[in-house]
């Protein structure tokens, strides 16, 4: 006949009250759980996405503002020089353009056109059908890897041909359309829900842009040698070309964590704190009301010699049962809610579909449980204080007179 057993009997005796409390705690804790998943989810997912791209160092121009950097000139020469560094395993140049894809009998569609020297396991896509972009650009004038969603929508298969024309932001383009052959279909790592991604070789991109012989890259991706690591590669490249900005994936994630993600973290902290307070208020109020209703009973127990520690621990266990029961229910509920919210957020324009806002991490679960345990203890504190200070004789007298 322990305090936990007495608390269990009380909880099961007042089923409706207990069920309401647990449901309330479950809903509130589900939100808490989701906020904890959100507090690190986007950063973890972003880091994971960068790792999956197969490169751990990024080289950018120092010209322009962070999101609108000027391209790096003489990028081919840079790639060769970087590729010769002992810390570097492979190098790829990347150029981003907007383009319009046309095919007979269908309306034109805007695409994000990616010109790259990356291919195979180091490409920012997972090939689903067909072949990778050829390593030798002279083999094919304009080979294309198209996003699977576009391939499905337009019934494109490897071997299909489409016309593609580069567009210039804010200007009418007079560039002619170029016929390109689809060599493969793929899932692009950074594809967003609101646009189609198409990749070609740097040579193919030049063709689409009217044959202009520029040698620029928006980004140079570098894979460091495993024995050297990205930090050494960053130092070597920065030494080679101090006029460029060089970041490891870790640097990019840290910067993202400081800047882009700060809002999410602040929102998460505020909402987490509020949900903890709500859970405390809900359980604290229920326990206090329930204790006030049982003051006569508690005074009688004290008169019978039942000690304060037993009554206090009974209330603490009762709180733990209500919060614990709700907390357990909160996990699947929070999981479902996170899944739904994640789907909605990933539909935002420009957000890669593979980027997740809510990512499960064992640390989030541990923190969730710790916060709930603290809530249970704090919520039980006032009722415990109330019963500890309860004057027995006046309470018994009041019960009889009342």
């Amino acid at each position: 006949m322990t305090s936990a057993w007495l608390a269990w009997r009380t909880t099961t005796r007042y089923r409706a009250r207990s069920a309401l409390a647990m449901i309330g705690v479950a809903v509130i804790s589900a939100l808490l759980f989701d906020m904890l998943l959100l507090s690190h989810g986007l950063v973890d997912s972003f880091a994971d996405l960068l790792e999956h791209a197969g490169y751990d160092v990024r080289v950018l121009s120092t010209e322009g503002v962070p999101l609108l950097r000027a391209p790096i000139p003489q990028a081919a020469e840079l790639a060769v020089a970087v590729g010769q560094l002992p810390e570097v395993e492979s190098v790829a140049r990347v150029r981003f353009e907007r383009a319009v894809v046309t095919t007979q009998g269908r309306p034109d569609v805007d695409v994000a056109l990616l010109g790259t020297t990356a291919t195979g396991t180091h490409a920012a896509w997972t090939l689903l059908k067909g072949a990778e972009l050829p390593n030798d650009p002279s083999l094919e004038r304009c080979p294309l890897i198209v996003a699977q969603r576009l391939a499905t929508a337009w019934a494109l298969v490897p071997g299909s041909t489409v016309s593609i024309r580069a567009t210039l932001p804010g200007r009418q383009s007079a560039l002619p359309a170029v016929g390109c052959r689809v060599v493969g279909t793929a899932d692009f790592l950074f594809a967003s829900a609101d646009e189609y991604d198409v990749a070609t070789t740097m040579q193919g991109l030049r063709e689409v842009k009217g044959g202009a012989a520029d040698d620029e890259a928006d980004l140079v991706l570098v894979a460091s040698r495993p024995q050297a690591g990205p930090a050494a590669a960053v130092r070597a490249i920065a030494k080679l070309r101090p006029d460029l900005r060089v970041y490891s994936n870790e640097d990019v994630v840290a910067q993202f964590n400081r800047n882009g993600f700060a809002y999410f973290r602040q929102v998460s902290v505020v909402l987490s704190s509020m949900t903890v307070v709500f859970a405390f208020l809900l359980v604290g109020t229920l326990l206090t009301v329930s204790t006030n209703q049982r003051l006569g009973e508690i005074a009688a127990l004290r008169a019978l010699g039942i000690g304060r520690p037993r009554i206090a621990s009974m209330l603490l266990y009762e709180s733990a049962l209500l919060v614990g029961g709700g907390g357990v229910l909160a996990l699947p509920l929070g999981g479902m809610l996170a899944f739904g919210l994640d789907r909605i957020l990933r539909q935002m324009p420009g957000v890669p579909e593979r980027l997740h806002f809510f990512v499960f991490a064992p640390g989030a679960l541990v923190l969730h449980l710790a916060l709930l345990a603290a809530t249970a203890i704090i919520a039980a504190s006032y009722p415990i204080w109330l019963t500890a200070r309860l004057p027995i004789a006046p309470t018994l007298r009041h019960e009889v007179v009342g």
Binding site: M1, L6, R9, T10, T12, R13, Y14, G296, E297, A300, L301, R302, A303, L304, G305, I306, G307, R308, R310, I392, A393, L396, R397, E399, V400
Partner: protein, 226 residues
Amino acid sequence: MMPRATIVEARGVSRVFPMSAGPVNALRNVSLSIGTADYVAITGPSGCGKSTLLHLIGCVDTPTSGAIVFENRNVASLSEAERSRIRLMRIGFVFQRFFLLPMLTARENIELPQAEARVAAAARRARCDALLEYVGLADRADHLPSQLSGGEMQRVAIARALANQPALLVADEPTGELDEETGAHVADLFDRVHADGMAILVVTHNPVLASRASRRLTMKSGSLTS
């Protein structure tokens, strides 16, 4: 004949309750001694201080002046934990409103003070069976209070009060919530408890119950008269 040892003694106790309208003198210089085989009934009009005296003797309250000496120990000098221990082991309380825990069965209610006293489960069960038999509720052991009548609940409460074999049974209007016939059954049970050697202090308006006591005291305006 065995000499009667004193269990509890009130020595010139007064109890003043501070109220917003001014202090209320609930007890005025009351002295009372209860020995091992005593059966004391205190009667008197409502508000005369009967329950206040019972609470002082039952160690749930302390006097404003004077002393309550329980088994040769001045209660006022004891800590709350020590007073709680005395209530658990040496005093059995019976209340007008029974105050059984609604989520526990009759058996579990009776076992509760024994569990607090760390009596082993087997011994608790044996004592509980004996007490249920004693109060005539062996067949109601697994019933919740809500499934018992008022008289049955009071009998369970008496069994609970006897669970740790106390020296003194204190009862505050134990028949106050019962009809005449059921009250008489409870009075019979008190007779039996007393006959078995336990000291009893009962505060009551019930003349039938009071008439069973070996000492009948009357209280008026906070003072005792015989």
